[in-house]
Symmetry: C2
């Protein structure tokens, strides 16, 4: 096993298993082929086009552009039906933007739980919380609660969260820092944006062509995180070598956290550039 295996695993997906969802003339999402009929049964607002792709019915009717509000209502109705039918998880009451690029005006907004079903891009924030002890780097690692609906019991970055509409990235990070690790706002605001990782993951929920913004925060040696929202069972401070080995040799970390950590290892000079995989790792973090 190797660090590169983690990158390959998360990006393993079958493009032919998904039907494009085309909005405003471009592919915005993709629905797993075997879930297209249930989607079309759940709403009249989405139809199959001549080329086999999916589109808003109103867009194909030639009646001029739909309002975002009408799309939001149509998608909310479909999501509610699909959730009742058990095809998407319990709705979260948190709205995500349907967009290709971060910050652009969304084509519509949709409950977070429906995002992978529709194969929409999601954005999130991940924090590398680290400590220097006698010159040696250590990283705070979280263990996800056993009752989390996704990745229960797996290892996680110190703080991470999805990015809802209407919140800045730093504001979201500060909020998650408080909820997940009891990091005071003044300390959380010292976090430094250091890049982003991207991947296209075929998950049980659907397709996830996601972007995670990465932040580094060097914590005072005396700081001890404490979870306040029940999502993290426990925290541990690991020497960075143990973190690297766990990423390389196991699948204990939640899939996308592996990439955030590989990015950290590269930026902090902890991987030798002569490693035959080095350039593939750098490039593999943002395919």
């Amino acid at each position: 096993m190797s660090l590169l295996d983690r990158i390959r695993e998360i990006n393993r997906h079958d493009p032919d298993a998904f039907t494009p969802f085309v909005v405003d003339g471009r592919r915005l999402g993709a629905v797993r082929n075997d879930r297209v009929d249930p989607l079309l049964s759940a709403t009249d607002a989405i139809v199959r086009c001549g080329d086999g792709g999916l589109a808003f019915a109103a867009d194909t009717a030639g009646g001029g552009p739909q309002t975002a509000a009408a799309r939001n209502d149509a998608i909310a109705g479909a999501a509610a039906h699909l959730s009742e039918a058990g095809l998407i998880a319990r709705l979260r009451g948190e709205l995500y933007p349907a967009a290709r690029r971060f910050g652009e005006t969304p084509a519509f907004v949709v409950d977070r739980a429906a995002v992978p079903f529709l194969g929409l891009r999601a954005w999130g924030v991940h924090l590398n919380g680290y400590v220097r002890r006698n010159g040696a780097l250590h990283m705070w690692i979280g263990r996800r609660a056993k009752d989390k609906p996704t990745y229960p019991g797996r290892l996680d970055n110190m703080v991470a969260g999805g990015q809802p509409v209407g919140l800045g990235l730093m504001e979201n990070l500060v909020k998650e820092c408080a909820e997940e690790a009891d990091i005071p706002e003044a300390l959380a605001r010292r976090a430094r944006p250091v890049g982003a990782i991207t991947y296209v993951q075929q998950a049980p929920e659907g397709l996830k062509p996601d972007v995670q913004f990465c932040f580094d925060l060097e914590l005072p040696p005396g700081f001890v995180p404490r979870n306040t929202d029940g999502e993290i069972e426990s925290f541990a401070l690991w020497p960075i070598e143990r973190v690297a080995e766990t990423v390389s040799e196991t699948r204990e970390f939640k899939d996308n956290c592996n990439l955030v950590i590989v990015d950290f290892l590269i930026r902090h000079g902890l991987l030798p550039p002569d490693d035959p995989d080095y350039v593939a790792l750098v490039r593999g973090l943002h395919p």
Copy 2:
């Protein structure tokens, strides 16, 4: 103009203008279409294959694999002819590996001057030399000598150099640090590998599908670089904001240095992740 413009400019190339050079069953390089005939005139060792690509004549003759030494001789002969004909620059006497991946056994070695003519990948090292003054980041910038054959008078990273065969990356960086900026070895060895940038550049010399390994070195505030090999005319210490603005608003920097600096700005938290170009910048550094 924008940072993203610099990334787009260096990657602007026309794949149809180049003829693949296929070695050991894979595309190793590419020669500009209008230079194929001069290449075939300069050597009998390279021929056009049935599919229009270029290959070693001995490989197409079915006589079994050629030795690397035979390939090296054939390529050296061709390079000498092409240099005499003025189609490639003066030979440098420095051998580069013909390979796709850093560190793999090269298919052959070739004079550095012939690498872009053959469209082979080259590797190099670039150093971000920076200083903290009252908490503000400053970066050492070089001005290339006016008699440099490539990019005369343009701005450059503090230290940079191509990667010849038979030298480790750190050893090459230490050597270049001494030659280009008079950085003592003990100080140079504190440089931290922080990633790599990649691009495919259509240059006057040919195609450059290159990889530059990036290093950060925080210098003592009192250190002043001094060029010893005549390649850099002068050094200046600039506030990082001026560096960023020069990259964004001008083409003063040597093309690939712009990417090394964008990578530095991202890793050091100097670009806000909400910037609409942020993810495109991160991904654009390693296409």
